[in-house]
């Protein structure tokens, strides 16, 4: 509707001045062919014009996107490269030591393990939960818009700011031995008959930290997944459901035999983007924990560090190693995405 309106508007507007032009000889047909020729010449010019239109984007992309790809490979092969040392005139050895140093670094296994663990737990949990919520939302009418709006809210927040709120919720206030308050989450836990847990304070256990992180990441990941899955559900042909209803199929069976297969492209999409996001997990950790410790207060050796955390930990002093780590991250994400695509090719019904 809108398109048509603008279409007619614009054509009438543009043609009005052309008709008034003095060139307008009485022979309307001749004029038209002349104009066509002119248009053709215009299109011929478009070679140069196109590059002119592309120029700003290409200049910026060349400096900050294309060159970095080449430069990353270059400096990843310069041992312990740093731009400060380069400015000081240091010559760097060309070898693959940055890569072996990253892999041999004792903390690297921790980073890799944490990243894998967070991804492998949060992606399935958030996908399942999002699927249930989306199916629920799709079968109600009353308050649907309200629920949809509420469930999307975590998306429009600042991961660091809300991470600080989560920390405040889980934190024990005051000294751990004689706290003035165990915090709101622990108060709720106690109300349900549990006992207070040291989630994020000094001396807290690895699994307590992980539980908080997983909760936060799932909370944060739900909106996007709900949005995509609900969008998919709304496009499902309702005839399948009508047929199932006539046959008296149970809800559970409808869910597994109709909804999940028909939604499988969307599910594959959120799982793949979830894996990619999971392997880049970093800001949710520094929202809750200290950036320099990557763990609860007083921890040594960055117990909660991730692969991206490793990259940013070395970026200030040793860009050679940071580049090598970034390339390794790229390779890992690439392989995982390929596996995901392979699996989904077998499982997804298009």
């Amino acid at each position: 509707m809108d398109e048509e309106k603008i279409l007619t508007e614009s054509t009438s507007e543009e043609s009005a001045p052309a008709q008034e032009s003095p060139e307008g000889a009485p022979g309307g047909k001749k004029k038209f062919s002349e104009r066509l020729k002119k248009a053709g010449r215009w299109l011929g010019h478009s070679q140069l014009k196109a590059w002119l239109y592309l120029l700003p984007a290409l200049v910026i992309l060349a400096i900050f996107t294309v060159y970095p790809i080449i430069n990353t490979v270059r400096i990843s092969m310069l041992e312990d490269y740093s731009f400060l040392k380069e400015k000081g005139g240091t010559e760097f050895l060309v070898n693959f030591n940055n890569f072996t140093n990253v892999v041999h670094y004792r903390g690297f296994l921790t980073c890799m393990g944490n990243t894998m663990l967070l991804t492998v737990i949060t992606v399935p949990v958030s996908t399942m939960l999002a699927l249930l919520i989306a199916v629920g939302l799709n079968s109600i009418k009353w308050l649907k818009k309200v629920f949809q709006t509420i469930f999307f809210l975590p998306y429009v927040t600042n991961a660091i700011a809300i991470g600080m709120v989560f920390k405040a919720m889980f934190e024990i206030i005051g000294p751990v031995n004689s706290p003035s308050s165990v915090g709101i989450i622990n108060t709720i836990v106690e109300a349900f008959g549990g006992s207070a847990v040291n989630w994020v304070n000094e001396g807290s256990s690895y699994w307590a930290n992980m539980a908080v992180l997983i909760f936060f990441i799932v909370w944060n990941a739900l909106p996007f997944k709900i949005l995509v899955l609900l969008g998919g559900l709304q496009n499902v042909n309702k005839q399948y459901y009508d047929a199932a209803k006539v046959d008296g199929t149970s809800r559970f069976r409808i869910f597994w035999r109709i909804t999940v297969p028909l939604l499988s492209p969307m599910i594959a999409y959120v799982v793949i983007t979830g894996f990619i996001g999971g392997f880049k997990e970093y800001t949710s950790i520094i929202g809750i924990f200290d950036e320099s410790l990557m763990g609860p207060p007083g921890s040594i050796g960055k117990p909660l560090n991730t692969m991206v955390g490793y990259i940013y930990g070395t970026i200030n002093n040793n860009q050679g190693r940071a580049s090598a780590a970034a390339l390794i991250l790229f390779a890992v994400i690439f392989v995982v995405t390929m596996i995901n695509l392979y699996v989904s090719k077998k499982r997804v019904h298009y």
Partner: protein, 322 residues
């Protein structure tokens, strides 16, 4: 979208209204009536369960926001009570003032963030529109190869660019100089290949006949772009604008690397710092910190509630935050 939703609502297999007290059968047999009554009771239970589930999830989603809000107006003493209060006894509005007057300098951070957000949004819109137009409407050699090459760069994780761009901006001596730090904040991640792609797809949907007709009338490309393409693609452009602004508001990693001084510090970087450490109490003033978090979070929520449609459109296609 809207239309589709309402269509689905109409066709939804079971609606709560249907679950309400059974209407008298239209002269049907008693058995059938009984069976349908049973079914309706079952349906009602299913709906109660469904709403209970959604309500619990909604509470879990909303609770951090609620806790942030009430913590932000508590006094330090009340915040540390053994049993946390669910509604503040006294409202300490001073916490909000402290965000502006204290070490955080929130006013300055807001100003910096708005400058970076507005400038980078305007520049990126211009650059994106021009290149998307070239890819959608103009003919030139190597168009498809160039476009495919640009799309291929989307596979590479941003961390890789962060590392070398950090080297690059330092080699340009941008870090440490006043104007340079603004450039470093705005330029490196200005052009998003994804937005070019999104807008190009949108432009391609506009019929080519329209372009040829305009050409026949002797309209220049710029005029055509301005008068026809941009109005038709405005929903996408609004989506890009909002997501870009949100990106500036939420960015942490890059600004934290290149611009840590107060004159260029952005909101999130300042928030994560130690601005609320109270020297006298020897601990962080949590209510004041929560007040600052509220001030950073609320503008985003307001923008979301006003431009919900555009944000949802952009997000569902990208999966990229900011």
């Amino acid at each position: 979208m809207e239309q589709l939703q309402s269509e689905i609502k109409e066709s939804a297999p079971e609606l709560p209204e249907n679950a309400a007290p059974a209407p008298q059968g239209e002269g049907g047999e008693v058995d059938v009536e009984k069976a349908s009554k049973k079914q309706k009771i079952k349906k009602t239970f299913v709906y109660i369960g469904l709403y209970a589930f959604l309500t619990i999830v909604a509470i879990v989603v909303l609770f951090p926001f609620y806790w942030m809000l009430i913590s932000s107006v508590k006094t330090v003493a009340e915040y540390e009570l053994r049993v946390p209060t669910f509604w503040p006894k006294t409202f300490k509005w001073d916490n909000f003032a402290l965000a502006f007057t204290g070490n955080l300098h929130l006013g300055r951070l807001f100003l910096n963030t708005v400058i970076v957000g507005v400038v980078s949004t305007i520049l990126s819109l211009i650059v994106t529109v021009l290149s998307a137009y070239a890819f959608a409407r103009l003919e030139f050699k190597g168009k498809n190869i160039l476009f495919a090459a640009l799309l291929a760069t989307m596979m590479i994780p941003g961390e890789l660019f962060t590392v070398t761009n950090y080297v690059t901006v330092n080699e340009f001596n941008w870090v440490g100089s006043d104007f340079g730090e603004w450039l470093a904040l705005i330029l490196p991640f200005l052009v998003s290949v994804f937005y070019i792609y999104l807008l190009r797809q949108n432009f391609m949907q506009i019929p080519n006949e329209l372009y040829l007709a305009a050409k026949v009338d002797g309209t220049s490309d710029i005029k055509y772009l301005w008068r026809v393409m941009i109005p038709l693609a405005s929903p996408t452009l609004i989506s890009i604008t909002i997501l870009k602004m949100m990106g500036a508001w939420n960015s942490y990693i890059w600004p934290n690397l290149v611009a840590r001084d107060l004159a260029h510090r952005l909101v999130t970087v300042g928030l994560r710092g130690e601005a609320f450490y109270d020297e006298i109490l020897q601990k962080t003033n949590m209510p004041a910190q929560m007040a600052a978090v509220v001030l950073v979070t609320i503008p985003l929520l307001i923008v979301f509630l006003c431009f919900r449609k555009y944000i949802v459109r952009g997000v569902s296609r990208s999966g990229i935050k900011g």
